[in-house]
């Protein structure tokens, strides 16, 4: 076995390609279908209700698609998708103690989080696009379709990257992620403009249109909604995701991780 010449280290691009293709079959297993179901089930139910309504000669409320998009997909399903998919990324290797097998290769260690995350991003993005198209059939505004797709895919990129980073930074990354998504994000309405810009929801709404429900009179602390230009909002989501992937790669590269998944005092 040792007769041949020793190969040189693969390029970062080759590392990305190898890990993305190598781990791609994982998305077609249980967790991958759970991610798909998070989009398919609410949209599918809406489509079924819509079809039944049409059969009975009733019209669907045009606001229904807007409500499913904002309250179903954006507020609930998208964060859960990230919470479900991110632990199957590089965090999984850390927990299963298979990471040393990767770290002992001469490849670019910083590329592993993105390489393992790419199949999940593409899988989730495909289902989100299908979900956005499905909402059109429920009665979504056609002029907002591209914005919705960009918002969902951009936010999915950012949220998956954030959860991957949090999973490498904290032992209980999923918990911290859940707290961010379900405690911080809902505070959007009472946030001043600066803090509104520190939420995914702000950029999603800037891309896909206003939030589903108007501010009620009892919401005394509600602030005026601010908007970011759609192109800038998309750029922010993509750049934030890229930053999180880069930080996750940097963290993995810098952290000594041994056979037990623990760090030494290097």
């Amino acid at each position: 076995m040792s007769a041949g010449p020793t190969p040189s280290a693969p390029s970062p691009l080759a590392t990305l390609r190898a890990t993305a293709f190598g781990y791609a079959p994982r998305v077609l297993q249980g967790r991958g279908w759970a991610v798909a179901a998070l989009v398919a089930v609410p949209v599918g139910i809406s489509l079924a209700i819509s079809a039944i309504s049409r059969l009975k000669g009733l019209d669907m409320d045009p606001a229904e698609a807007l409500r499913i998009f904002h309250d179903g997909l954006v507020k609930m399903m998208l964060p859960i998708m990230a919470l479900v998919a991110a632990p199957a990324g590089i965090r999984e290797d850390l927990e299963q103690r298979t990471l040393p097998l990767l770290l002992a290769r001469p490849a670019a260690v910083w590329a592993y989080p993105l390489g393992k995350g790419l199949p999940w991003f593409l899988w989730g993005a495909a289902w989100l696009v299908l979900g956005a198209l499905g909402l059109q059939m429920v009665g979504g505004d056609p002029s907002l379709l591209l914005g919705r797709i960009a918002a969902l895919v951009g936010a999915w990129w950012g949220e998956l990257a954030l959860m991957t980073l949090v999973g490498l930074l904290f032992k209980r990354g999923t918990l911290w992620g859940a707290l961010y998504f379900f405690l911080w994000e809902p505070l959007l309405r009472i946030f001043p403009p600066f803090l509104q810009r520190l939420t995914f929801t702000h950029y999603i709404e800037s891309l896909a249109g206003s939030r589903a429900a108007e501010v009620k009179t009892h919401e005394l602390l509600a602030q005026e909604q601010v908007a970011t230009h759609p192109a800038l909002a998309l750029l922010v989501l993509l750049a934030f995701g890229a930053l999180c992937w880069a930080l996750a790669g940097w963290k993995l590269h810098r952290t000594p991780i041994g056979l037990a998944g623990s760090e030494s005092e290097g």
Binding site: P5, A18, P25, T98, A104, G258, S264
Partner: protein, 306 residues
């Protein structure tokens, strides 16, 4: 090939490896890293395989620090302890990825994949997912991933754990073959008899300290104050009478049909014993060295340092 200069490793407040110094020369051969659980074997292997940087001192593999160093990692293969593999993947596809991550591509990758699978005897079962493989099969696949890129240094951490006797012997044969082909094999174990069967050179670790290095015989020679026990079967009184006249005798114990001698320097007394038996002066029926093996060496050394 490998040199440690007062290299140590800490896990927070816990000392995994005390400052350790040793060198392994270039070239093939098997070196056994021996010690009980918690001795620091895995810590040392993690330093050598570049998973962890030393907390103090210096580690050099192929003349360079191995931590996150592709130039070093491209020349070594690591088989970590256990049989863990990524869940839900097929072995052949995962191995292909590992080959690509080692810088292989195209025909070279295909050839390396086929060669590694052939070497570990898994060519016809590599299409299975890890979940459908036995522990022995997974261990072979873990070895295959380490062999893909033809490493000059192969590091195995407790590779015999959980393997059935046939698989152990098969793995030993394979390691001997690789060593004969020029690969330097560094294998850790706490199973003394297996290491004794396998290696021509031993590093003995205990509680994070390197106690001794060398062959079993060399290590044994360090232990002058620890007598070797020899069981001589025959007429006990005659045997005892002969034994008490020998200057190397440290202790003598009578048993039914035998005497057990504790002797300090077996290399000196054994030829005399052989001559006396051959000349008919000694009614010796059998000679059984009770502790001239690795277990005894290990027990002696660790007892001193406990």
């Amino acid at each position: 090939m490998i040199s440690l200069d007062r290299a140590s490793l800490r896990y927070g407040p816990i000392l995994g490896l005390s400052p350790t110094t040793f060198e392994l020369p270039e070239g093939g051969g098997i070196t056994g890293l021996l010690g009980p659980n918690g001795a620091g074997k895995s810590s040392l292997l993690q330093l050598l395989s570049g998973l962890l940087p030393p907390s103090g001192g210096e580690v050099r593999v192929f003349g360079q620090a191995p931590f996150r160093n592709p130039a070093v990692l491209a020349r070594l293969g690591l088989v970590p302890e256990g049989d863990r593999l990524p869940s839900g993947l097929r072995a052949d596809r995962w191995l292909r990825m590992m080959g690509e991550l080692s810088g292989l591509s195209g025909e070279a990758l295909k050839g390396a994949l086929a060669g590694a699978l052939e070497t570990v005897g898994m060519a016809d079962r590599a299409h299975l997912t890890f979940a459908r493989m036995s522990k022995g099969m997974r261990q072979r696949i873990r070895l295959a991933q380490a062999l893909l890129h033809g490493p000059e240094l192969l590091i195995l951490d407790e590779p015999f754990n959980g393997l059935d006797p046939e698989a152990r012997l098969g793995l030993m044969d394979l390691l001997r073959r690789l060593a004969a082909e020029g690969t330097r094999v560094l294998v850790s174990s706490h199973i003394l008899s297996e290491i004794a069967l396998l290696t021509d050179r031993i590093l003995l670790l205990f509680r994070g300290r390197l106690l001794a290095e060398g062959t079993v015989t060399e290590i044994r020679q360090l232990l002058d104050r620890h007598p070797v026990e020899l069981r001589l079967a025959g007429e006990p009184l005659d045997l005892a009478r002969w034994a008490v006249e020998q200057p190397e005798l440290a202790a003598l114990r009578m048993e039914e049909g035998a005497v057990v001698l504790s002797v300090r320097s077996p290399r000196d007394i054994l030829p005399r014993l052989q001559r006396a038996a051959a000349g008919g002066q000694l009614p010796l029926r059998a000679l059984d060295p009770l502790d001239l093996n690795l277990d005894a060496v290990f027990q002696y050394l660790t007892k001193d340092h406990a």
